[in-house]
């Protein structure tokens, strides 16, 4: 299978993603999460095989073999969920920063 370039990209994205996630600083953690989810999506997409000379998974008159649609459907779901999690993470961090700067009057502990 001619996908070695994808192997390199996947490795780089995963490695860099973990590095930033472990950094522990707010913006870098967000960068890490985004890189990790991109890496995962690309990793999943690789399982649909070498796309050379093949068509998108949309059935038409073209007499070309389409690629596997299942990884794409799974990734589409993953992208949108990843966005939901990212939005939550960003607001959580923003709230965190805000509370550090102006501690809330009633502390909820922890």
């Amino acid at each position: 299978m001619d996908q070695f370039e994808s192997v390199l990209a996947v490795g780089a994205l995963f490695g860099a993603g973990l590095w930033f996630l472990l950094d522990g600083r707010a913006l870098r953690a967000v960068i890490g999460v985004i890189l990790l989810s991109n890496a995962t999506n690309l990793f999943l997409l690789m399982s649909s095989g070498d796309p050379s000379g093949r068509a998108p998974p949309i059935l038409g008159p073209a007499n070309v073999d389409p690629v596997d649609p299942l990884p794409q459907a799974l990734i589409l779901t993953a992208i949108v969920i990843g966005f939901g999690v990212l939005a939550f993470l960003v607001v959580l961090l923003a709230r965190n920063v805000e509370d550090e700067r102006h501690p809330p009057e009633s502390s909820h502990g922890g």
Binding site: V7, G11, L13, L22, A26, I58, P69, L70, L76, L93
Partner: protein
């Protein structure tokens, strides 16, 4: 047949009736137990003759896919136990109604548990299938737990309930394992078939030793044998009716029942006799000795019960060689003397306020009826000639004596002699200690009516009559030398101890109380778990994140390294030049934030990485992914930009992270590198061993004819795997909820004002919304056959609405777009769920889609639900970031 089911249905009916009845009826609810017990008793009584003739089994289909039937077995054994359970249940119900006469505590749960217990007992003894037996068996443990813990405000009751439940249910799980080994080994769980095979069963079993051990552990745990006996004395914190019923007459007999039930099969097991005689004989002696040391009246009775159960276990160890035939008499004898003793104990507790033998005494004038009952019961306990206990003992021991001097039978007979003498001393202690001597001050008497003793008297008299009238009764003078010897030794022991009061000074060493360490372990276990969780799942991500990553890498290496052998040839072949270029740029961009200066530069290169991924999706022939990623990338960029607005040039540490030194950074780099390499290797192995796309081919082939859509990705999302999508939009809505929970007005983005000041943007805002909605509608409609669909369309529409709010302010946007986004979110979720569930109403499958003309169908409706959720959520997040204080501000700033 109707009787067989009736015996089981009567408790069920009573249970339902009590469930519906008002709780304020209190102890009157127990009449339902009496009625059910009576009905079951009559039903089983009518089957008695039939059962004597031949064993019957009635079956209902149960789990057909496993070939399991629900079997009701009617044979002498099940009838005997069934009659005991329902008969004693009837007497206990009457007794309990009096026992709780002055009790203000609510009794509904108690009544329900007691009825459920009786039903479970009947289910166990009538079961014709081992798995069915196990289910009812465990149900009795649950009911026992609830009943011991009746007085749950007392720590003693809670601890006693917990101990009993843990011991009986853990040993019950062993029983299940044993049943599975036995049933799977033989190929049938039906007791009838197992009995037909008899001892032959063991020839074909794969793990005979483990099977026997597990089955016996189950029986020993329930019947309080060494080493599990300790739970029973602690279970005495239950109300006395419960102790008399569950922990003396019925539930603790289940282990014995199991041995009796499977005895023809078990007899063929290796070492069956030595194990049972050793365990049962030791328990027989231990219980008899411990009864002399205990001071609590009910604990004494509990140890006496343990002793008796030990005798029966040992007896079944030898029975196969002599043929068990009088065990029913022995069972009844115990029930008929122990239950009255318990009832007397409960009566005395009400009369004097204590069960402590050291504080009782001289009660003969006050409680003559109790004394009479105790006398009758004790006669049976010590096997006085003429009593039922004597009849039972003689019937069981005569064949044993015939085996003398066979080692195991002889050992058991000796143990029985010793225990007999100890029992004589115990009887003296009970009668002398409670009714003799002078009266003590009542501690805290509540009430005691002699009428409450009538059921006890009835049972005791029944035992007396049975003993005198049974046709099997041996001569009272049979083996009189032995009997005399036992009584003389017992009397000497009694004198040596210093009479009834002499025993008060006896104390068993606390170290012998196995309940203590087990209880301590049960206390310590949750603490250990809490500490383990605190250690492994701590709130310091700096510790647990590397831990998780390291474990993940280690796990992957463990699974992947076997792939690397001489035959492994990694397919290092590159794709086309454009793919290589994009992939290398993508790899480089992942590291670019490392070298970028400043936060803004970091997120810009991050965004470049995202857009590179979009193009890579394109070359991977994934147009839907490319569109989605493009839109998400745009929204994510805005989100991160918002975060940047709050952070400025700082990048504060998340709480739980600390600055790390050179070594720490090296370790982190090593871990990240290892992770990247392992994941790359995993992907290499994955594409190397590419399996044929069988699943993909299925979707491609059936998408058009079955799902009426040319876009296979979309049909998978809304049709084939619609349930996933449903879960996904639910998760999205939950993430939205989390965001709103965290939100407060101080989090508003500082970028709003500058955007609003752009006159151009304000001017075209309305037009922009119109255009984005048109595009969204188009993308949405065509999604089933071409790239597009609800997600993509929803993101486009949300972007338009957020843009409008950015230009003219959120209040203006709210006026412009009259549906509140949170409402849209809920409506979308409801629409999606409805579309999925509606086919159920019409008898179709969950998520079955219907296709109408012009591509309009339920699939489109479902996708519209997805669209609404995404629009609602995207808009809500965007608006919230822009301006949380909508009421205070006006759009025309």
């Amino acid at each position: 047949m109707i009787e067989a089911y009736g015996a089981l249905l009567a408790p069920l009916a009573a249970f339902v009736a009590v469930l519906m009845a008002p709780a304020r009826w209190g102890r009157r609810l127990l009449w339902a137990l009496a009625a059910a017990a009576g009905a079951s008793f009559v039903a089983l009584w009518r089957l008695r003759a039939e059962a004597q003739a031949a064993a019957h089994a009635w079956r209902l289909p149960w789990i057909e896919s496993l070939g399991l039937d629900f079997v009701v077995t009617i044979d002498p054994l099940s009838i005997l136990y069934g009659l005991t359970v329902s008969g004693v249940g009837f007497a206990i119900a009457l007794y309990a109604i009096d026992y709780f006469a002055h009790d203000k505590r609510p009794l509904k749960t108690f009544s329900l548990s007691l009825i459920a217990f009786m039903g479970a007992m009947l289910g166990t003894v009538l079961a014709g299938n081992l798995l069915q037996l196990f289910l009812f068996w465990e149900l009795t443990s649950v009911a026992s737990f609830l009943l011991i813990g009746f007085d749950f405000r007392r720590a003693e009751a809670r601890r006693g309930a917990r101990l009993a439940f843990v011991v009986t249910s853990v040993t019950g799980l062993c029983l299940l394992a044993g049943i599975l080994l036995l049933g799977l080994g033989v190929g049938s769980f039906e007791i009838g078939e197992l009995l037909d095979m008899g001892p032959q069963v063991w020839n074909g079993l794969p793990y005979p030793t483990a099977t026997l051990a597990l089955l016996l552990i189950g029986a020993f745990g329930k019947s309080a044998q060494i080493p599990f006996f300790f739970w029973l004395p602690r279970a005495m914190s239950a109300p006395t009716p419960v102790s008399a019923y569950l922990h003396s007459a019925t539930m603790v007999k289940l282990g014995i029942f199991l041995l009796a039930r499977l005895s023809p099969v078990l007899a063929g097991a290796p070492d069956f006799t030595p194990i049972l005689v050793t365990i049962g004989g030791s328990t027989l002696l231990l219980g008899a000795i411990a009864a002399l040391f205990a001071q609590d009246l009910k604990a004494i009775l509990a140890y006496s019960t343990i002793s008796h159960l030990g005798w029966l276990v040992a007896y079944y160890g030898i029975a196969p060689s002599i043929g068990a035939h009088a065990d029913d008499v022995q069972l009844l004898a115990h029930v008929l003397y122990k239950a009255p003793l318990f009832m007397v104990a409960g009566y005395l507790e009400h009369l004097t306020g204590t069960r402590d033998l050291r504080r009782l005494g001289g009660l003969l004038p006050k409680a003559p009826l109790a004394a009479l009952i105790t006398l009758i019961a004790c006669a049976s306990l010590v096997a006085l000639p003429g009593s039922l206990g004597f009849v039972a003992k003689e019937l069981l021991t005569t064949p044993l004596k015939g085996l003398w001097p066979a080692p195991w039978a002889s050992a058991l007979l000796v143990a029985l002699l010793v225990a007999g003498a100890l029992k004589v001393a115990l009887a003296g202690r009970l009668l002398g200690g409670i009714f003799g001597g002078e009266e003590r001050d009542p501690a805290d008497p509540t009430h005691a009516s002699a009428t409450g003793l009538l059921p006890a008297l009835a049972i005791a008299l029944a035992g007396l009559a049975y003993g005198l009238l049974t046709p099997q009764a041996p001569s009272p003078f049979a083996g009189w030398q032995t009997t005399l010897g036992i009584f003389v030794v017992g009397a000497i022991l009694y004198r040596l101890a210093g009479g009834a009061r002499g025993f008060h000074r006896w104390h068993a060493p606390a170290s012998l109380d196995l309940a203590r360490p087990v209880d301590a372990a049960l206390d310590a276990f949750p603490k250990f778990c809490a500490r383990l969780v605190a250690w492994a799942q701590n709130d310091r991500p700096q510790l647990f994140l590397p831990l998780v990553a390291t474990s993940f890498v280690a796990f992957l290496l463990w699974r992947l390294l076997p792939f690397v052998d001489s035959s492994f040839v990694p397919g290092i072949a590159w794709g086309s030049a454009d793919r290589i270029a994009i992939a290398l740029l993508l790899a480089a961009s992942a590291f670019a934030p490392l070298f970028a200066r400043g936060n803004l530069a970091r997120i810009v290169v991050l965004s470049i990485s995202g857009f590179l991924l979009v193009t890579y999706f394109v070359v991977y022939r994934a147009p839907d992914l490319a569109m989605t990623q493009l839109l998400i990338e745009a929204v994510s960029f805005l989100l991160v930009l918002y975060l940047l607005g709050r952070l400025g040039e700082r990048d504060p540490r998340i709480p739980g992270f600390e600055a790390i030194g050179r070594v720490g950074r090296a370790a982190r780099a090593g871990l990240a590198a290892a992770f990247g390499l392992v994941m790359a290797f995993l992907s290499l192995v994955m594409v190397n061993g590419q399996t044929p796309e069988r699943l993909g081919r299925f979707f491609l082939a059936s998408s058009l004819p079955d799902a009426h859509g040319a876009n296979a990705v979309n049909t998978i999302l809304v049709d084939y795997r619609g349930f996933d999508t449903l879960g996904e939009i639910s998760v999205l809505a939950i993430a939205g909820l989390g965001i709103f929970a965290l939100w407060n007005r101080s989090l508003a983005a500082p970028i709003r004002r500058r955007l609003s000041e752009s006159a151009l943007l304000r001017g075209v805002a309305g037009l922009a919304v119109a255009v984005t909605f048109l595009i969204a509608a188009f993308l949405h409609w065509r999604g089933h056959n071409d790239p597009g669909g609800g997600f993509i369309a929803g993101l486009v529409a949300a972007l338009g609405l957020v843009l409008y709010a950015a230009a003219r302010g959120v209040p203006a946007a709210r006026r412009f777009f009259s549906i509140p986004p949170e409402v849209l979110c809920v409506v979308g979720l409801a629409l999606a769920w409805l579309t999925a569930a509606a086919p159920l109403i019409f008898g179709a499958a969950f998520f079955e889609h219907f296709m109408g003309p012009y591509g309009l169908g339920t699939a489109l409706a479902f996708d519209t639900g997805v669209f609404c959720v995404v629009v609602g959520l995207g808009t809500r997040i965007g608006w919230a970031l822009l301006n949380p204080s909508e009421e205070a501000e006006d759009g025309s700033v």
